[in-house]
């Protein structure tokens, strides 16, 4: 053996020793004990580079969903429990579903209102941070509304109860379950009732639980109460079609739409769905439909109508009758009761009925008037026009409102008589929004056990014996059936933040059924849904696919529509005429009241949501308050000006509100928004505005959102309203442009194309892409969903009423509202306005420190780190879209909204920096989304394609008014729109070369 081989051998031996302890190569240094002991090598997982957003919905990444749902989502949720912990502790053993910094998307169903829109929710590092519409939904098509967008913030509401409470003291669930079970046993023995008082429940599985209850307890009753109910319509439809239903409407199939006080684009029934259909029917390329709206106050819907007629609430029925008289004549129906003409200009009604008749079968009359007779008349109109089964679908009715005013009134009486033993309150707050809240609360005192599922101590639950806080819908399993046979599933995005429990689980528990809500839901779907489909062989596959898609559609349960119209329209019409006659001649000093849901607050359930509180009303642009809208004429007659507080008195209620002079308001009617004036909702929403629910009049058992004979008196006080826009005239400037269908066809013949103004400067941008946006003002309804979507996406702070009054709102996108024509009934224009991303931006030349520049891809970008805050850019911006951080809006007790609490800050998007004080900010065209899409394309080794990138505003838009894309790609949607005859750029004569353009609003044919 040579010395060298011996040495080798010794070496080998040593090597073997090392191998024994797990080291493969003696010369290599070990980095960790895991490595030393042959443990995992984390880098191997990312051999192909770091992963980006795993879009779990795409087919190629689909996994076995059993493991995904059964374990990992729960694990993901559990991991998310760490989020409220102040210190950032890296997870030692990570979930394989959560890649830090990578978002995943889960389909669920919105719980913001009973419309039950299908959603896709963005989850990032285990917490839901952004809500988007689910574009697989045939009903909602990817749009959302402002309220829906804002629900994600309600999840992180610090006012939510941390756990259950028994008689005001926090308790634990077992304790409560024991108490409740004992009490229920006592209730069963007694002769008194067990009542579940709920809002509209669209969840079929929950309705099944309710059915289980009625099977288990013979003295159980379920009462459905909606603050804004359509119970008169349901009652009328029972008389007209033999079934208590709310039809499903198809606005897209209608060539003539007549609305009689139904704000279907803003708040009524299912606004996201209707706005989408409406936009489809209003496309000028296909010859826009005609929309006539009769309404007392200017609503979002009225502001979009071709013809809008201000009508007092008491007169709306007469308008319907007058229309029916004309249609009945045309249809050859005899025996129509005579009555006076409701409008001074009866020719208008002639023309409307002429148009309706001309488009028989493709017209639609909808009314939101809470009056059985009016609804029967409207049904008759649709029936005579042949719309039933075409634009009015009774075969697949809408299940989005099932409240019953009469049942609720009866319940309140029974409670007061002491006939109710146990009352369970789910999704309702009658202590605030019931017409006679005092009487309800009196009755509540007499109930032996009252259980509330409310998430906070509100006006009702604070009087209940037990509060069993329900999950936020983003923490819960569930399903929904907004329209018959259209199903939508809901899944949790995060483990419950607090010690809450799904109401369904509580209900099951108290039934003695100890299955979890999740397994109940699954078995319900296995039993009721799975058999109806053929694609999936196993239930697991069906369940996984359904959860991924979020939506499941089945054919209608019954092929046959509800019975044809058989309502007594003559009696209904003469009833309305008689009532009209009996009405005392209106005195000079008595007025009518019109209550409406505002786009932001709706019925008041989200009243502690600072985003919604600060959302400018689409019409008045007022934030942080409700107000009394009066017509300019009335204001002049009573010498009222904006902000003067007036007192409004009905027989048994009184409210004091500041005046807002509203052009287009009916002269004798004062319009008030409900949903404000909550007393116990949380620090942001308490005492914002006035509660006007008590002013509503109840007639024939239905609560109408109106009142007659209102006395008005001036109080002499003044309150400053916080409006984000104070001047509504364009002053003759070419800003929001409009055209007519006739002009459009003339122009298209001329073939004129948009040309940019000449410039001496180099053309921008010089990069590979040129990001641009196009906004169709004809499609934009002003619904403001984009405003909240942008706020959620871009961490836009809430600044409070005082700052809004000081013209310091931070919204990156605003919707400008302009009027044209007479102030008695003006024409409205909505114009979304955000940074125009000018190629030759006036802001850029004046910035002394180059904090704002045009990117190589045409985005006007703001460099926060570099900004010193001279505000010169904002001064020089002709669009006034730049927003300055006057204070620190984060972690500042003076701005005690969501960004001042660690919980509220969980909603922040980690992709977007939170701006400090002293810097300028503005729309970035969602540059983080552009970057993400580029990364995904890069990793997929493919080119970016049009539609890969959707800005937050664009995604949320129910009418697809906003298009975003690459202007250098001639085939992109935005480039195509740029070639439209309607295309123009705002203030382009200044030579700013904006990358954001607009499509002119098209006014319908002037037949009326």
């Amino acid at each position: 053996m040579t010395p060298s081989t011996r040495a080798e051998g010794a070496c080998k031996n040593r090597k073997e020793e090392l191998v024994q302890i797990g080291q493969p190569d003696p010369r290599a240094y070990w980095k960790s004990l895991e490595q030393l002991h042959g443990g995992q090598k984390p880098s191997a997982e990312f051999a192909k580079g770091l992963p980006s957003a795993a879009v779990t919905r795409t087919d190629d990444t689909r996994r076995d969903f059993l493991s995904l749902m059964g374990f990992t989502v729960a694990a993901a949720g559990l991991a998310a429990c760490r989020a409220p912990v102040q210190q950032a502790i890296p997870m030692l053993v990570g979930s394989d579903q959560i890649v830090p910094g990578v978002s995943s998307w889960y389909a669920t169903t919105c719980g913001g209102c009973p419309s039950s829109c299908s959603l896709l929710v963005k989850q990032r590092d285990g917490r839901p941070i952004k809500i988007e519409g689910n574009d697989r939904s045939v009903l909602f098509g990817g749009g959302t509304c402002a309220t829906g967008q804002a629900t994600v913030l309600s999840l992180y509401d610090g006012e939510r109860l941390r756990g259950p409470a028994w008689k005001g003291q926090s308790a634990d669930w077992r304790q409560i379950d024991r108490h409740v079970s004992e009490s229920l046993a006592a209730a069963e023995r007694s002769n008194r009732e067990i009542v579940l008082l709920s809002g509209t429940i669209t969840s079929p599985s929950m309705l099944e639980i309710v059915t289980d209850w009625s099977k288990r307890y013979s003295n159980f009753r379920h009462v459905v109460y909606d603050a804004i109910s359509l119970s008169a319509m349901r009652a009328a439809n029972e008389k007209s079609f033999g079934r208590k239903l709310i039809p499903h409407y198809w606005f897209d199939k209608a060539r003539v739409i007549v609305g009689i006080e139904a704000d279907f684009l803003g708040t009524w029934l299912s606004p996201v769905e209707f706005a989408r259909q409406y936009a489809a029917s209003r496309k000028p390329e296909n010859g826009s439909s005609l929309h006539v709206q009769f309404e007392p106050g200017l609503s979002v819907t009225g502001s979009n109508a071709d013809v809008r007629v201000p009508v007092a609430p008491s007169n709306l029925g007469a308008v319907a009758v007058a229309l029916l008289r004309r249609i009945a004549q045309k249809a050859g129906m005899a025996g129509f009761p005579e009555g006076p003409e409701p409008l001074a200009d009866s020719k208008k009604l002639d023309a409307v009925s002429e148009e309706l008749w001309r488009h028989r079968g493709a017209s639609l009359v909808v009314s939101g008037v809470q009056d059985e007779s009016v609804q029967v008349v409207v049904n008759a109109l649709n029936a005579f026009l042949g719309n039933i089964g075409k634009t009015v679908d009774t075969a697949r009715p809408s299940l989005q409102r099932s409240g019953d005013d009469a049942a609720m009134a009866e319940l309140v009486e029974r409670m007061n008589r002491g006939e109710v033993h146990t009352l369970m309150l789910h999704g309702v707050n009658p202590g605030y929004d019931y017409a006679d809240a005092g009487r309800f609360l009196q009755g509540l005192e007499k109930v032996t056990l009252s259980i509330s599922f409310s998430d906070r101590r509100d006006e009702t639950s604070s009087h209940a014996h037990v509060i069993c806080p329900d999950h936020h819908f983003l923490e819960a399993w569930g399903d929904a059936e907004p329209v018959e046979s259209h199903f939508s599933l809901a899944q949790p995005l995060i483990a419950p933040l607090f010690n809450t429990r799904a109401a369904q689980e509580s209900l099951l528990m108290w039934l003695g059924n100890d299955t979890s809500h999740y397994s109940y839901l699954r078995s319900f779907w296995q039993k009721n849904m799975f058999p109806h489909q053929k694609e999936a062989a196993s239930f697991d596959a069906f369940w996984d696919r359904s959860l991924q898609d979020g939506v499941v559609d089945f054919p209608a349960k019954s092929a046959a529509p509800a019975a044809s119209f058989h309502g007594d329209w003559r009696a209904a019409a003469s009833g309305i005429i008689d009532r009209q006659k009996q009405q005392p001649a209106s005195r000079e000093d008595s007025y009518e009241l019109h209550l409406y849901e505002s786009v932001a607050m709706r019925d008041g359930r989200s009243a502690n949501n600072p985003w919604l509180l600060e959302l400018p009303d689409p019409i008045t642009k007022v934030t942080w308050a409700n107000f009394a809208a009066v017509s300019p004429q009335l204001a002049q007659r009573l010498s009222l000006s904006n902000g003067d507080v007036i007192a409004l008195k009905t027989e048994n209620a009184r409210a004091e509100l500041p005046v807002f002079i509203q052009p287009g308001q009916e002269n004798r009617t004062i319009a008030l928004a409900v949903g404000y004036g909550r007393k116990q909702v949380g620090k942001a929403g308490n005492n914002v505005g006035q509660n006007v629910y008590p002013l509503a009049q109840v007639s024939n058992g239905f609560r109408r959102l109106s009142a007659l004979n209102i006395a008005l008196e001036k109080t002499g006080r003044r309150v400053d309203l916080a409006g984000t826009q104070t001047h509504f005239s364009m002053e003759g400037r070419p800003i929001a442009l409009e055209t007519t269908l006739a002009d459009l066809s003339k122009e298209s013949a001329a073939g004129e194309e948009h040309k940019a103004t000449p410039t001496l400067w180099t053309e921008q941008p010089q990069g590979e892409h040129s990001w641009g946006m196009s906004i169709d003002m004809n499609a934009c309804t002003g619904c403001s969903a984009c405003v909240i979507a942008c706020q959620a996406e871009n961490n836009v702070p809430v600044v409070g009423k005082d700052q809004v009054q000081r013209v310091r709102i931070m919204h990156w996108i605003r919707i400008d509202h302009y009027y044209r024509g007479s102030e008695d009934n003006p024409v409205s224009l909505h114009q979304p306005m955000m940074c125009q991303h000018c190629g030759h931006a006036p802001c850029e030349t004046v910035c002394p420190v180059l904090a704002t520049t045009t990117s190589s891809e045409g985005i006007n970008q703001q460099v926060y780190n570099r900004c010193v805050g001279t505000r010169y850019c904002a001064n020089n911006c002709p669009y006034k879209v730049r927003r300055f951080n006057w204070y620190n809006y984060t972690e500042n007790p003076k701005f005690d909204f969501n960004m001042n609490s660690p919980l509220g800050r969980l909603v922040l998007n980690p992709d977007v920096v939170v701006r400090t004080r002293g810097v300028m900010e503005k729309c970035s065209l969602c540059v983080q989304r552009i970057q993400l899409a580029k990364n995904i394309a890069l990793q997929g080794k493919r080119e970016l394609v049009d539609g890969d990138i959707k800005s937050a505003c664009q995604q949320s838009c129910p009418t697809q008014a906003i298009a975003f894309g690459d202007l250098k790609d001639p085939n992109s949607r935005v480039s195509q729109l740029m070639k439209s005859q309607r295309y123009y750029q705002v203030l382009e004569e200044l030579g700013t070369r904006p990358n954001v353009g607009y499509l002119k609003k098209v006014r319908g044919s002037a037949v009326i």
Binding site: P842, T870, K880, L987
Partner: protein, 484 residues
Amino acid sequence: MSSTTIATPNATSNAPTGRTGTIILPPPAWVDGDTSLQQITNDIVRPMEARPGKGWWICFSLAFAAFLNLGGMVTYLIANGIGVWGLNNSVGWAFDITNFVFWIGIGHAGTLISAILLLFRQQWRTSINRSAEAMTIFAVMCAGLFPAIHMGRPWDIFFMFPYPNQRGPLWVNFRSPLVWDVFAITTYLTISLAFWYLGMIPDLATMRDRVTNRIRKFVFRVLSFGWNGSQRTWARYEVVSLVLAGLATPLVLSVHSIVSMDFATSLVPGWHTTIFPPYFVAGAIYSGFGMVLTLLILTRQTMHLERFITMRHLNMMAKVTMLTGMIVSYAYLTEFFGAWYGGNLYERYHFINRATGPYAWCFYLMVLCNVITPQVLWSKRIRGSVAALFVVSILVNIGMWFERFVIIVVSLHRAFLPSGWGMFYPTLIDVGVLVGAFGMFFTFFLLFIRFLPMIAIWEIKGVAQQQAHTLAVSAPDQTSAARA
């Protein structure tokens, strides 16, 4: 100003005119009374050598209180953010930049008096140039305060300077008028300070020779750079003065032209106009003379310097004020004409709004102060009345402040899109900072008249009555003054 003007005061008494038509110009005489050169020195340095009077103390305590208030206000401002001002997203500049332009404008009279009038050999400037220059420096200091505190992040003010850095090619934006401002103001302050200090050196030497206190003597010795009053020193001194005057002269025109470009190069209706540079320069001189009048009337009355700051001086300044006031009025008229003739929708609306909108009262106050007020100066009686001139000078100051307020706020509050319109309402902090800046200005000025010779002793001797020179037989040339 023609030479006849200079001759006028003494034409009757001193100037012998021959029938042949040759006018023998009397020596310039801008000091009233028969005073010896020694007496002039004594009179001028009296405030520095005696204890200050009650008047000074009252003025100083008021000014110093306001100055302290400025300190508090600025601290509060920087601690909380500029949200404490009334500014908003529509009106991004208001009191801050109004004050800035106002103070920069004030400064211009000093430079005009000391540099341009020196070059034009206007000898009446000698009794006022020192305090006017001091005013310039203090005004520029006040002005410089505002761009600093108006920023959202004042601690990052160094971003505004093109200093070498490690941030790659990151540099200031040379296209931005705010960067031009940085250069204009720093240059202006440097030149003004140098000019002022240089002009004081012979007087500092005088002080050095007079004071007995050892510390003061030491200070003056250092400050006077070992001035010995030799012929060579004086010759070089005169040359340097002229060179500095030549350097400062273009600044009178350029600084405010550049300030006006903050507005003129933007596209805001009411700002975007080519008339701004000359209009602003005229306005600056107008407001500067207004301020010089205010200051000199005050010091003249309280410090008993009537002999040196004569009615003839006030008369001259009043005439300059009137002339520049009329140029400013003409500019106002031209703006309105341009708006009407130009046919620009936004421009036209702006000027209608200026005269009829919510801030119309500011506009009319400005017209009253800047258009109507200077017209009273046509009257010789008013030009001869100290009280009347004082009132006029105050009105000029108010008017010029409002001019800048009107230009800035009225233009911004209703610009292109009516949806972006918003009103500006000042807060207490806005007013506090405005008052505080005046406090700072007057504090410095009062300290100046207490500790430095507020009239150029060596220069004024050159324009004293002939008799003063005959009295000082031993040293008929003015250089002896320095040695005296």
